[in-house]
C-alpha cells in the first residue's frame, strides 16, 4: 500500500512538474540577457612628404618664392596651420599659403581623407636695400590639430 502511495505521489509530483514546465514554456518565461559592444576610433593624422626648400627670385621682381608638396591623411576634421618667423638676421617674414589660399587648411569631418597640398612661401624684398648677398634661412612650422 505504502509502495503504491509513494508511486502515486511520485507520479503526481512528476506530472505537476511537467505541467509547470510546459506552462512556463508556453508563457515564454525565459531569462534573456543582452550586452552591447562599443568601439571608439580615435582621430588620427599624419603629414608626410615635406622637405626643406629654397626660395628663388622671380625675374624682374623683388619677390622670392618657393614651395613643396605634402600629403595629409586623416580620418576626420583636422586643421593644418603654417607659420613662420623672420629670415635669419632680417625683419622679413615670408608669407605662407596652402593651395594658394590662406595659411590654414581644414579637412572634412566624419570622412577618411588622404590628399596632397601645396605649401608655398614668398618674400617681397622691395624696399629692403641693405641685405648682403648670401643665404638666409627660416623655420616653417606646420601644426596639425583637431581644433
Amino acid at each position: 500500500m505504502n509502495k503504491k502511495l509513494s508511486k502515486i505521489s511520485k507520479g503526481v509530483l512528476l506530472s505537476l512538474g511537467l505541467v509547470m514546465t510546459s506552462q512556463a514554456s508556453a508563457e515564454g518565461n525565459l531569462d534573456v540577457k543582452t550586452s552591447t559592444a562599443n568601439l571608439t576610433i580615435g582621430l588620427y593624422a599624419t603629414l608626410t612628404g615635406l622637405d626643406n626648400f629654397q626660395m628663388t627670385k622671380i625675374n624682374g621682381s623683388p619677390t622670392y618664392t618657393g614651395g613643396d608638396l605634402f600629403s595629409l591623411a586623416t580620418n576626420g576634421a583636422v586643421r593644418v596651420t603654417a607659420t613662420t618667423v623672420a629670415l635669419s638676421g632680417t625683419t622679413v617674414v615670408p608669407s605662407l599659403t596652402i593651395d594658394s589660399g590662406t595659411n590654414v587648411v581644414d579637412t572634412a569631418s566624419n570622412v577618411v581623407t588622404s590628399s596632397n597640398y601645396q605649401l608655398d612661401a614668398s618674400a617681397n624684398l622691395s624696399g629692403i636695400n641693405e641685405l648682403a648677398a648670401g643665404n638666409y634661412s627660416s623655420l616653417i612650422t606646420l601644426t596639425v590639430s583637431a581644433i
Binding site: 603629414l47 615635406l50 622637405d51 596651420t81 627660416s138 590639430s145
Partner: protein, 382 residues
C-alpha cells in the same frame, strides 16, 4: 708609404660620404602619425584619470613632447602657446611618462600620461600636448618642421554655470570685395558654447532687406554655420551682405543663441552711405534727354556699356506709380560681359504738372559688391 696614403684617402672618402649622407638625411623631415588627436576626459575633481596616445614612425626620428596652452584668437582660430612661469590650470595637471622618444622606421609607441585634477575644481579646460620633431636648423633654406597638437578636453562633472554672452560693435563694413555685417561676441561664461548669430537688416520703412548669418573666420573656413567660442573669450563674427543696399538709415537687429541659451536681442541704427567707391566710382551712365510733350509723357531709350574687363550687373529701380509720377525701366536688371552693351527703355509720366529732370539711383554690381551710381534725366538744352 703608398699603401698608407691609399688607406688614409679611403678612410677620408668614407668619412666625407658619411658626412654628406648625414646632411642629406638631416634635411628630410622625420614623419609620424599620431592618434588620437583629441582626448575627451569626463571626470570629477580630485581624480587622477590616465590617458594615452600612439605615435607611429613612418621614418626614423626623434620626437619631443611639450605641454602647450591654448588661446582662442579674435578670428576664432586656436593658438598654441608654450608655457610661461605662473601658468596654472590643466597645463599644470598633466604628467607624461616621458618627454621624448627615439623611434625606428615603422615603430609604434604608446605614450601614457595622467591628469592630477585638484579637488573642488570646476568648469571646462583645454590644453595640448605638442608632439614635435627635434628642431632641425638649416643655414641656407627654409627648414620645415611638423608638429601635432594633441588636445585634451577636460570636462569636470561638477561644472555648473550658465552660458551667457554679449554682442558689441555691431555695424556694416564696406570692403573692396563687398559689404559685410560685423560684430564682436564675448562668451562671458566658464563653459565653451556654439554660437548662432543672425542679423536682420531693415530699411527705414521696416522692409527686410536681408537676413545675414554671422560666423567667425575660423568657422567660415570650415564651412560651419555655428562658431565655437571658448570661455571668457571675445571673437569677431562676420557675414556677407548679398543684396544691394540703398544709402540711408538702416536698422540692424541681432539674434544670438549660445548653446541652448537665447540671448537678448541687440538693435542698432546706422546711417549707410553706399556711394560708389574705388573702380565703381569711375562708372558713368549716359544722360537721358527728355522733352516736353502734350500728355506729360516721356519715353527714352539709352545704351549702357561695360568698360571693365569683368562682368557687371545693373539693376534699375522698380516701376513706380504714385500721385505725382509714374516711371518704369525695361529691362530692370541686366548682366553685361566685359565690353558689352545693352539698350534700356525708360518710360515716365507726370500726372500733375510739367515733366522735370530727375536723378535715379541705379545699383551696379562689380565683383560681388553693390554700388550706387546716378542716372540723370535732363532737358535737351541742359
Amino acid at each position: 708609404m703608398n699603401r698608407g696614403i691609399h688607406v688614409a684617402s679611403k678612410i677620408l672618402l668614407t668619412v666625407l660620404v658619411a658626412c654628406s649622407l648625414s646632411l642629406i638625411s638631416a634635411t628630410q623631415a622625420g614623419e609620424f602619425s599620431v592618434s588620437p588627436m583629441l582626448i575627451h576626459v569626463d571626470e570629477k575633481s580630485g581624480r587622477k584619470p590616465e590617458f594615452s596616445f600612439t605615435i607611429k614612425a613612418k621614418s626614423a626620428g626623434a620626437v619631443i613632447f611639450e605641454i602647450y596652452k591654448l588661446k582662442q584668437l579674435h578670428s576664432g582660430h586656436m593658438e598654441f602657446l608654450p608655457l610661461e612661469d605662473g601658468d596654472e590650470g590643466l597645463v599644470k595637471w598633466i604628467t607624461l611618462e616621458t618627454d621624448g622618444a627615439n623611434l625606428k622606421k615603422g615603430e609604434k609607441r604608446i605614450i601614457r600620461g595622467q591628469l592630477n585634477i585638484p579637488s573642488r575644481t570646476k568648469g571646462s579646460h583645454l590644453a595640448a600636448i605638442m608632439v614635435k620633431e627635434e628642431s632641425r636648423v638649416s643655414t641656407d633654406s627654409l627648414a620645415i618642421t611638423v608638429r601635432y597638437a594633441i588636445v585634451i578636453d577636460l570636462k569636470l562633472a561638477t561644472q555648473r554655470g550658465r552660458l551667457t554672452g554679449s554682442l558689441t560693435n555691431l555695424k556694416i563694413e564696406q570692403r573692396e570685395e563687398g559689404n559685410y555685417v560685423t560684430a564682436d561676441f564675448s562668451n562671458l561664461s566658464k563653459l565653451p558654447g556654439e554660437l548662432e548669430s543672425r542679423v536682420d537688416i531693415r530699411n527705414d520703412n521696416g522692409r527686410l532687406i536681408e537676413r545675414v548669418n554671422l560666423v567667425t573666420e575660423s568657422a567660415q573656413q570650415r564651412a560651419m554655420n555655428k562658431s565655437r567660442v571658448f570661455p571668457e573669450t571675445t571673437v569677431g563674427i562676420i557675414g556677407l551682405i548679398n543684396s544691394p543696399i540703398r544709402s540711408g538709415t538702416l536698422h540692424l537687429s541681432a539674434n544670438n543663441r549660445l548653446g541652448k541659451k537665447l540671448l537678448q536681442r541687440k538693435k542698432v541704427e546706422i546711417v549707410f552711405n553706399n556711394k560708389a567707391s574705388g573702380l565703381a566710382a569711375e562708372y558713368k551712365l549716359p544722360k537721358v534727354i527728355i522733352s516736353q510733350t502734350d500728355q506729360n509723357l516721356s519715353k527714352n531709350k539709352f545704351t549702357v556699356h561695360n568698360p571693365y574687363n569683368k562682368t557687371i550687373k545693373l539693376r534699375f529701380p522698380k516701376s513706380t506709380r504714385n500721385k505725382s509720377e509714374t516711371y518704369s525701366f525695361r529691362p530692370r536688371q541686366i548682366t553685361l560681359n566685359p565690353g558689352g552693351d545693352h539698350e534700356i527703355e525708360l518710360s515716365q509720366h507726370w500726372n500733375d504738372g510739367e515733366i522735370s529732370p530727375k536723378v535715379f539711383l541705379i545699383d551696379l554690381a562689380l565683383d560681388s559688391k553693390w554700388h550706387e551710381v546716378e542716372l540723370h534725366t535732363v532737358f535737351k538744352n541742359d
